[in-house]
């Protein structure tokens, strides 16, 4: 396949970026999207040019590092996968592909396709935990029975990989899906109920401080989420937040 690429290049956080055109020949369907970029970079290096920087690590869809906006969609055209799981068989000969970094005020560009997602870190640090010591001197694991339904729902929320696709997909660059996934996981478990009010208030406050937008229920985040995190989590967080605010 012959593929035409339009890729965002930006030297560093303070420089202005622009789209640069590249043409790739001999692309095979079995190649992953990132392997195609590897080959392009090898080519650039051999020509003495500076290769394109992009974030990636596990290349099996679980670490949440890769973060490309492909033809306007976070993680590209396929659903329920990250960029690293996208294969070139999803494209056809002669296609033009536009590759940009995730765009959001709270995710400044570091270089080329790499963005700074530390805002997510600070939201988690504000309350994304259960305040239990790590001494191991807790109760026996089976002394806390949990309804399978709730355990499964908590797991589904906890499956978030923190990639930021929800923010990149949202026209308001809202981080509600990300934040609500953590709030939900703990709110659904008896261990997490104890600090549920403080948690939701602290995490939401930090989320707002970071400059993420508000949620207007368009649902784009759920559609683009590689792990299928449900909008129900946002509803649950809103309930938790309201409840916590009334209690004061």
């Amino acid at each position: 396949m012959k593929i035409y690429l339009k890729i965002w290049r930006q030297k560093d956080a303070s420089s202005k970026g622009k789209i640069v055109d590249y043409t790739m020949n001999g692309v095979e369907g079995d190649m992953s999207f990132l392997e195609m970029l590897d080959i392009l970079n090898e080519d650039l290096i051999s020509k003495g040019e500076v290769p394109i920087e992009f974030d990636h690590d596990c290349r099996e869809g679980i670490c949440g590092t890769c973060s490309l906006q492909i033809n306007g969609r976070p993680h590209g055209p396929d659903r329920l996968i990250t960029v690293c799981q996208l294969h070139m068989r999803s494209f056809k000969d002669g296609d033009t592909i536009v590759i940009e970094p995730f765009r959001a005020k709270a995710f400044p560009v570091i270089k080329d396709l790499i963005v700074d997602r530390n805002a997510f870190e600070r939201i988690q640090q504000a309350g994304g935990f259960i305040s239990v010591n790590t001494s191991g001197r807790t109760v026996d694991a089976n002394s806390i029975p949990i309804r399978k339904e709730n355990a499964d729902k908590a797991f589904n929320a906890a499956a978030c990989i923190g990639c930021g696709a929800c923010v990149a997909a949202c026209k308001n660059a809202s981080a509600m899906l990300f934040t609500s996934a953590k709030v939900s996981q703990f709110a659904l478990l008896p261990q997490g109920r104890i600090e549920a009010s403080e948690r939701v208030q602290n995490m939401v406050r930090q989320m707002d401080l970071e400059g993420f937008g508000n949620c207007t229920n368009t649902g784009a985040c759920e559609i683009e989420c590689p792990k299928g995190i449900s909008l129900e989590n946002i509803a649950r967080m809103n309930r938790e937040y309201l409840g916590a605010s009334i209690k004061g």
Partner: protein
């Protein structure tokens, strides 16, 4: 005992750890505030250690190359975590977990360390549940278990196929709580480039800020290396792309001994290589072997027809299939340990029975499991007259609930539906049992420098059992280091902050800068990946699933030549004082090019077959590994002496007082 003093406490096996904890020095809470600890790597071992140190009151600085501690490669562990809870009442105990681990490791691990691991394993589950880790549960609300290779009980706790993710997020949450309190300073996108030693003790590290390229000095009273394994030496592996040996290797260069580098785990169930463009391999969890049956065609002509696309696996009748693991190992069947399963797959493929285009793949078939689960489901749903199609549908739903994410991952990569046609799998590099030598305290041969998790060599001998890596990482971090590091730090309560303007820091930083300058100024013709791929090919072909003296000798020569070529002809574009992924890779590959040679030397030295180390010269007539306990019942510990070929071998003799050494049999 000489320089290799394992410091194993005296007394009966089951009492060693308790007795030891009662006797070690403690640091009082007020003094802990004056003591700093550096933790490099934030996976299960590093993350759990950092959180626990901070909670005890120490000042902790963490470092990881990823943009968040949550992205460490522990996150990719799929299947589960072992613990001797005996919730299933199937006869499990600390002793049995200990025994299985030592036997699974082919009698090349330390009894006392492994027993301690088994002893704290139950606590890990308690701890994680209180942190809100959503383990799988049954309908009664209690925790569910499954089985893994090499054992006859069900002791593996899991969270679908994402157990590593959930456990890591638990440790990450514990870290976040301490970051929030200001007790941990987390440095992300930072890479450790060297260890600083002051008066014989590890007192700091030199790092590179991967965004700005700045070289920084960080001091502490102790340094913990928890940076994982070195399987990326093989280029193609199930490791994350950035996983590397830099922190461990540079610690080795500063005096920490490297143990058993040739003990590598080649995991039997990975998605086969598809072409030259391939950058990494993907694991299909061992938990699939609970339900999947592994087979190749019985007849060579059928295998050939399948390879040529003329025959489909589903067309092959039951009696024309060779379920070779069930045939060779009736007691354990498809759940033999990983080393045994991998070699058996290689044996069939080498004999011409491989089933994909390259001839390097076998089938993992869920058909029987789908029908079995389907019938069960039909029965419990009161469907008496369900036809096969209906039963199949019900069965597929059960399998999806158990392994859905794995099946989806497979389909995305291979473009085939594994519910309808058997998966194709082949072994791939997955884990390294070798690593920095540590004593019972997890301290390396450098005082004040500790190694935890996959970065150390300690618990898995020559082969790790499934679901034991997560157990070891968390045991080291949550329950071992927080005690043992205090014993060392008790001497440091009056030391005060370690200055970074000393001669030792100056000199180490200069070494680091010289190395970077050398890489940037080579201005050669080949990219870093060119060398990495070449190294990987040498390793896979000559130091992989089976090894022989001739190949290993060739590998030693070839790697040394490749390393020379690398330093003269590598091409690193861009600048050193900038974000530069090629420079990051270059530093990592430079270290792999040294480790690779030591790896081959270690494999050549060990004239026996044990666990993942299979020397063709040492096998039984049936092709099983032939151990030599008389001459090789030791841990190799290599001392750095300038060039890899000058490394000096030390041996720690392994003493078995509680387990009788036997030929490992899974028949």
């Amino acid at each position: 005992m000489g320089i290799l003093d394992s410091k194993i406490p005296s007394g009966p096996l089951a009492e060693k750890w308790t007795k030891y904890k009662n006797e070690i020095d403690l640091v009082n809470p007020a003094n802990k505030r004056n003591i700093d600890i550096i933790v490099v790597g934030t996976g299960l071992a590093g993350g759990s250690a950092a959180a626990s140190f901070a909670e005890l009151g120490y000042n902790v600085k963490t470092f990881c190359y990823q943009d968040s501690p949550r992205r460490a490669h522990s996150i990719a562990a799929q299947g589960g975590i072992n613990a001797s809870k005996n919730y299933q009442g199937d006869g499990d105990s600390d002793y049995r977990l200990f025994y299985d681990t030592v036997k699974g490791g082919d009698y090349r691990s330390r009894e006392a360390n492994v027993y301690r691991l088994a002893e704290v394993s139950g606590n890990i589950i308690d701890q994680c549940v209180s942190q809100g880790v959503p383990f799988a549960r049954d309908y009664g609300g209690l925790l569910d278990n499954r089985s893994f290779g090499g054992v006859l009980v069900s002791r593996t706790f899991y969270a679908k196929g994402q157990t590593g993710q959930q456990l890591l997020l638990g440790a990450y949450a514990a870290m976040n709580r301490q970051i929030h309190r200001g007790k941990i300073k987390s440095h992300t996108r930072h890479e450790m480039l060297d260890l600083v030693i002051v008066d014989g003790k590890a007192r700091g590290i030199i790092t590179r800020n991967l965004i700005t390229g700045e070289i920084d000095r960080h001091s502490a009273h102790a340094v913990v290396i928890a940076t994982g394994g070195y399987g990326n030496l093989f280029f193609l592996s199930t490791y994350a792309m950035g996983a590397n040996v830099m922190a461990a290797w540079r610690t080795h260069r500063r005096g920490a001994f490297m143990s058993n580098p040739c003990f590598t785990q080649i995991h039997p169930t990975c998605i086969p290589v598809s072409g030259e463009h391939q950058s990494k391999l993907t694991l299909m969890s061992e938990s699939l072997r609970n339900d999947g049956r592994i087979w190749v065609p019985k007849r060579l002509e059928d295998a050939q027809a399948i390879r040529e696309g003329k025959l489909k696996p589903t067309q092959l009748k039951e009696e024309d299939r060779d379920y070779y693991l069930e045939r060779r190992y009736p007691a354990f069947g498809n759940l033999v340990p990983r080393d045994v399963a991998s070699r058996a797959a290689k044996e069939r493929c080498d004999a011409g029975y491989g089933v994909n285009k390259t001839g390097e793949a076998v089938y993992l078939d869920f058909d029987a499991a789908i029908m079995r689960y389907g019938s069960e489901k039909a029965l419990t749903s009161g469907l008496k007259n369900a036809d096969d199609a209906h039963i199949r549908k019900l069965g597929e739903e059960v399998v999806e609930a158990k392994y859905g994410n794995l099946f989806q991952m497979y389909e995305k990569i291979v473009d085939e539906n594994p519910y309808k046609t058997p998966m194709m799998i082949y072994p791939a590099v997955h884990y390294t049992m070798g690593g920095l030598w540590v004593d019972y305290n997890l301290q390396t041969t450098i005082p004040g420098c500790y190694a935890a998790g996959e970065a150390n060599f300690s618990d898995h001998g020559a082969n790790r059992l499934g679901a034991s890596a997560l157990m070891q990482g968390l045991a080291d971090g949550y329950f071992v280091l927080p005690y043992t590091i205090g014993d060392f730090l008790a001497d440091d309560i009056r030391t005060g902050p370690i200055p970074t303007d000393s001669e030792e820091f100056d000199k180490t930083e200069k070494d680091v800068l010289d190395k970077i300058n050398k890489l940037m100024s080579a201005k050669g013709t080949h990219s870093v990946d060119y060398y990495h791929k070449k190294l990987g090919k040498i390793m896979w072909n000559k130091c992989g699933m089976s090894r022989n003296a001739k190949g290993l000798k060739e590998a030693i020569e070839e790697i040394a030549a490749l390393r020379k070529d690398f330093w003269e002809n590598v091409k690193v574009p861009g600048a050193a004082d900038d974000k530069n992924q090629e420079l990051e890779k270059a530093g990592r590959v430079a270290d792999f090019l040294e480790l690779g040679e030591l790896f081959a030397m270690d494999a050549l030295e060990r004239n026996e077959s044990c666990g993942g180390h299979f020397r063709e010269e040492y096998q039984t007539p049936e092709g099983e590994a032939l151990r030599d306990d008389k001459n090789f019942k030791f841990v190799s510990a290599w001392e750095y002496k300038g060039k890899p070929k000058d490394a000096k071998l030390h041996k720690e003799n392994l003493i078995y007082e509680n387990i009788e050494l036997k030929t490992r049999s899974y028949k």
